[in-house]
Amino acid sequence: MTSFKNFFATRWGIIAVGAIIGIFAPFLQKWGNPANMGICVACFDRDIAGALGLHRAAVVQYMRPEIIGFVLGSLITAYAFKEFRARAGSGPIVRFVLGAFAMIGALVFLGCPWRAVLRLAGGDWNAIFGLLGLIGGVWVGALFLKGGYNLGRSQKTHTSVGWLLPLIMLGFLVLMLIFPKIQGQEKSGVLFYSVKGPGSMHAPFFVSLVIGLLIGFLAQRSRFCTMGAIRDFVLFKQTHLLSGFITLVVVAFIVNLILGQFNPGFAKQPVAHTMSLWNFGGMVLAGLAFALAGGCPGRQLFLAGEGDGDAAVFVMGMIVGAGFAHNFGLASSPDGVGPYGIASVIIGLLTCLFIGFTMRKEVA
């Protein structure tokens, strides 16, 4: 009955969603997005932080329409299927901090779980260490969950609470329309645009937005989550979400082969570095933070679109975290980790452990 009502919640549904994302992500690269970065939620949130001037790393500033599409696509879908539920109040400040450190960890590796598999599918073997780190971080998070860790209950709340993050995204979209990119200029109105580097590389605005909306729809229906894929396997030996995640890698690999975008190796991979330990360590931090916050960065956007005000706080944490990551020299570059990157990973891990060990009260 349930599966009849929602095809995308079935095994074939989640596999179809993984396949569709696996097709569109490499095509977004062909159409202009940076290499092995067809979709990267962390990188794109970071680019949005740059477009807003929250950090001033000149090469990573662009208001990514994919992210806006993810949230608005999920919002529209949630309404269409009567699943929009405004809710909030489950550890908002904790989620903010987890969002910030998840972003910092992801930027030490240079990618979120989505990009980790897209890097792998493009032949960037450094991603293997990132994925191992992600699995390790999620595994530790699963141990906390088993031990009773939780962030408390959310409460039903005013509809407008659930609307705030979608409205912010709509505002970003309007800003982009009022102040569009002017070729060769670093600023258009209030928005910053990269003239070189990954931030200058993007698919056409309309293409990015429409694919973002489509993925927002698919992910809202299927509950696609890259962290949940690993967590559910570790906790319950459940392979439902994992089958979608694995399909994404396999399909993206095949599409990359067809498009001539598969370049295997460790050295000189696009927007990547070869410091294996910190590719691993950065993603341990990100994976643990995602697990403690209950969703990968993509899933947090989709949840925010369907009215989850706590997921919205996580998203804001990620955007602010990106500001810190670039202002403080925490983010890596193709040359390797930033001057304070290693310290930030250690501080982030200690913070996550503090959160995991101290928030274990049984829920009544």
Binding site: T2, F81, R85, R87, L145, K146, Q238, H240, G294
Partner: protein, 71 residues
């Protein structure tokens, strides 16, 4: 008299963890799980079904009452 577990307001994967711990406690019988999102409804149903429990979904206003049964 069935056991009632209130998993409303809890985010993923808490509702499933609670449901599975009850399932392990009672090898058979009836367990009622209250959830408030469609995701939790699907996740708990899927987890219970893999343990061989029959799941009946009742919609109560904007929430769900999942009745898990096993003989």
């Amino acid at each position: 008299m069935s056991k009632i577990v209130d998993a409303r307001g809890l985010s993923c994967p808490q509702p499933v963890l609670l449901a599975l711990s009850e399932i392990k406690k009672f090898n058979k019988g009836e367990i009622v799980i209250l959830v408030d999102t469609d995701t939790s409804k699907e996740n708990v149903s899927r987890a219970a079904a893999t343990q061989g429990w029959n799941v009946e979904v009742e919609r109560v206003e904007e929430e769900y009452r999942l009745v898990l049964r096993k003989d």
